[in-house]
C-alpha cells in the first residue's frame, strides 16, 4: 500500500493539477505549487544520485573488481568537484556584495570550479565529441554501401547534404549557367530540408505526441506503474 498506492496517488494528483491548470487559468497557482515541489524533489534526487554513485563505486573498490581504479578516480573527481562547488573555493565575492565572502557565483572567474570546468571538463568533453569525426569517417567507408534501393537513396541524400553544407556545393554547382534551383545548396535548403525532412519530422513528432498523451493518461489513472520499478 505505502510502497505503490501512495506514490501512484501523488503522481496522479500532481499530473491532474497541471492538466486542470492548463485549461482553467484560476488554478494556475496550484500548478505553480506543484512545480515548486517538483524542483525541491529534483534537488533531493541529486543527493540520492550522488549517494548512489558513491555506494556503487565504493562497493567496486572494496570488492577489487576489474576497473576499480576508474571507480577510485570517479570518487576523487566527484568529491573534489562537489567540495569546491559547494564551498565556492577561490570564488571572489560578488561585486554587489563585496563584504560577503560566499556571495560570488559558484562558477565565477578565478574560482577552482571555474578552473576545473575550463581546463579539465571543457577539453575532455570536447575531445570525446571530436573523436566522432574519426569514427564517422571509418564508418562512412565500411557501412555506407549501396546494397539496395533504400541504401542507395540514403547514400545519395547524405552525399548531397555533405556537399551542400560546405563550399563544395558552390564549387561544384554554383554557376550562373546552372538553374539556381538545381544547385546543390538550393536542393538542400529548398527541397531536402524543408520538404522531405520537415514533413517526415512533423509526422514523427505528431506520433510521439500522441504516444505521450496515451502514456500520460495511463500514468494519471494509475494503470501504468512501470515508473515505480519492479514489485520486489
Amino acid at each position: 500500500m505505502m510502497k505503490r498506492t501512495i506514490p501512484v496517488m501523488i503522481a496522479s494528483i500532481a499530473g491532474l493539477v497541471l492538466v486542470v491548470a492548463h485549461f482553467i487559468p484560476p488554478a494556475q497557482s496550484w500548478a505553480d505549487e506543484v512545480s515548486s515541489w517538483f524542483q525541491i524533489l529534483a534537488a533531493v534526487a541529486f543527493i540520492l544520485g550522488g549517494a548512489s554513485l558513491f555506494k556503487i563505486h565504493l562497493q567496486k573498490i572494496s570488492d577489487q573488481r576489474p576497473g576499480w581504479g576508474y571507480s577510485a578516480l570517479t570518487i576523487v573527481a566527484f568529491t573534489v568537484t562537489l567540495i569546491v562547488g559547494i564551498f565556492k573555493i577561490g570564488v571572489p565575492p560578488s561585486e554587489s556584495f563585496p563584504s560577503m565572502p560566499w556571495s560570488g557565483d559558484y562558477v565565477g572567474d578565478g574560482g577552482v570550479l571555474w578552473w576545473i570546468f575550463t581546463y579539465i571538463f571543457t577539453p575532455l568533453n570536447a575531445t570525446m565529441f571530436a573523436l566522432l569525426a574519426f569514427f564517422i569517417s571509418s564508418a562512412a567507408f565500411r557501412a555506407f554501401r549501396a546494397k539496395n534501393t533504400e541504401a542507395m537513396i540514403l547514400l545519395v541524400t547524405a552525399t548531397v547534404v555533405l556537399l551542400g553544407q560546405t563550399y563544395a556545393g558552390t564549387l561544384l554547382t554554383g554557376y550562373d549557367w546552372i538553374n539556381p534551383h538545381l544547385q546543390l545548396k538550393s536542393i538542400v535548403d529548398e527541397w531536402l530540408m524543408p520538404v522531405f525532412n520537415a514533413s517526415g519530422q512533423r509526422a514523427i513528432k505528431i506520433g510521439i505526441a500522441l504516444g505521450i498523451v496515451s502514456t500520460s493518461l495511463k500514468v494519471l489513472i494509475g494503470t501504468d506503474r512501470s515508473y515505480l520499478g519492479n514489485e520486489e
Binding site: 515548486s36 529534483a42 567507408f141 549501396a146 555533405l162 563550399y167
Partner: protein, 285 residues
C-alpha cells in the same frame, strides 16, 4: 600497415586522412566565402527588425561538447544584439551552460564596454528543473528567477523589474543541443504563449527543428555552417566587425568542415567502388 586488405581500407589510414583534413585548413588558415541562406537571413531579420532596447532572452542550453559548433553562433547573436542595443537576459537549463554564458558576457563587456550589468544585460545562470522551469517562467518569472548570479534581486534590476512572465520579452533565442533545449522552449513557451522565437543548434539536430518553421520558430541556424553564414550576414550589415577576428570564428571553422566533408564523401565513393568490384568478382566466380 597495408593500405588495402580484402577490399577493406586499414582504419589507421582513414584516421590519418581525417587528421590531415582537419588540421591542414586550421594551420594554413584556409577560409571560404559564405552566402547566407534564407534561414540565416530570417534569424538575422528577427533580431535586426526589433526596435532598440528590446528584451531578448538568450538561452545557452549546451555543454562544451557542442561548443565547437554553437559558441561562434551564440557569440555572433550576442554581438548582433549588442550592435542593435537590445537588452539581453541570459539563462541556461544546462549546468555546463553557465560558464558559456560567462564567456559570452566577458566578450560582450570587452567589445561593448558601455553595456551595463543589470541594465543592458543580466546573467540568470543555471536554472535546474528542465521543462518545469519553463512552465514557471510563463506564470511567474520572478518566482523562478528571484536573483541573478551576482545575488541581486531581479525585482530591483531595471532589465528584469517590469517582467512578470517571460512572455513579455520581445524575442527568445534558444541555442541548444538535446534535452532540455529549443524543442522544450517551443513546446512550453514559444508556441502556447505566442512568443517570437529563433533557434540555433548543431548540424545533426537541426533537421528535427526545421519541422517548427515558420509558425513555432521563425527560423533556425544549423551547425557551424549556420554560424558562418550569420557572421557573414552581420559583417555585411555592420562592416566595423570585419576587423574583429573573433567575429569570424564560424567562418574560420568552415575550412576544417569542408575538408572533413570532402574526405567522408571520398571514402563513401571509394567504399562503394570497392564494394562493386568485390561483388563483380564474386559474380564472375
Amino acid at each position: 600497415m597495408q593500405f588495402l586488405t580484402n577490399g577493406q581500407l586499414d582504419r589507421r589510414w582513414i584516421f590519418l586522412g581525417m587528421l590531415l583534413a582537419i588540421a591542414s585548413p586550421i594551420l594554413l588558415q584556409v577560409t571560404f566565402p559564405e552566402k547566407p541562406s534564407p534561414k540565416t537571413i530570417d534569424v538575422f531579420n528577427a533580431i535586426d527588425q526589433l526596435s532598440e532596447s528590446s528584451r531578448v532572452v538568450i538561452a545557452c542550453d549546451f555543454d562544451p561538447a557542442s561548443a565547437g559548433e554553437l559558441e561562434p553562433m551564440i557569440s555572433a547573436i550576442v554581438r548582433h544584439c549588442a550592435l542593435k542595443r537590445h537588452r539581453m537576459i541570459f539563462l541556461t537549463l544546462w549546468l555546463p551552460g553557465a560558464p558559456v554564458i560567462k564567456s559570452n558576457i566577458r566578450m560582450l563587456v570587452d567589445e561593448f564596454p558601455d553595456y551595463r550589468s543589470g541594465i543592458d544585460y543580466v546573467d540568470l545562470g543555471y536554472q535546474p528543473g528542465a521543462e518545469v522551469v519553463l512552465k514557471v517562467l510563463t506564470s511567474n518569472f520572478k518566482k523562478q528567477c528571484s536573483s541573478d548570479t551576482s545575488g541581486r534581486n531581479t525585482a530591483d534590476l531595471p532589465i528584469t523589474a517590469p517582467l512578470t512572465t517571460i512572455q513579455q520579452v520581445d524575442l527568445i533565442v534558444s541555442v541548444s543541443t538535446g534535452f532540455p533545449g529549443t524543442t522544450e522552449w517551443v513546446q512550453y513557451v514559444g508556441s502556447p504563449h505566442k512568443v517570437k522565437m529563433v533557434g540555433g543548434t548543431t548540424a545533426v539536430s537541426a533537421p528535427s527543428l526545421y519541422a517548427y518553421i515558420p509558425r513555432q520558430l521563425i527560423s533556425v541556424l544549423g551547425g557551424i555552417k549556420g554560424a558562418a553564414e550569420y557572421e557573414r550576414k552581420i559583417m555585411d550589415h555592420y562592416p566595423q566587425l570585419e576587423a574583429n577576428q573573433s567575429a569570424r570564428e564560424g567562418i574560420r571553422r568552415m575550412g576544417p568542415q569542408f575538408m572533413g566533408h570532402m574526405l567522408v564523401v571520398t571514402l563513401i565513393v571509394l567504399g562503394n567502388i570497392l564494394f562493386f568490384v568485390e561483388k563483380r568478382k564474386g559474380t564472375d566466380r
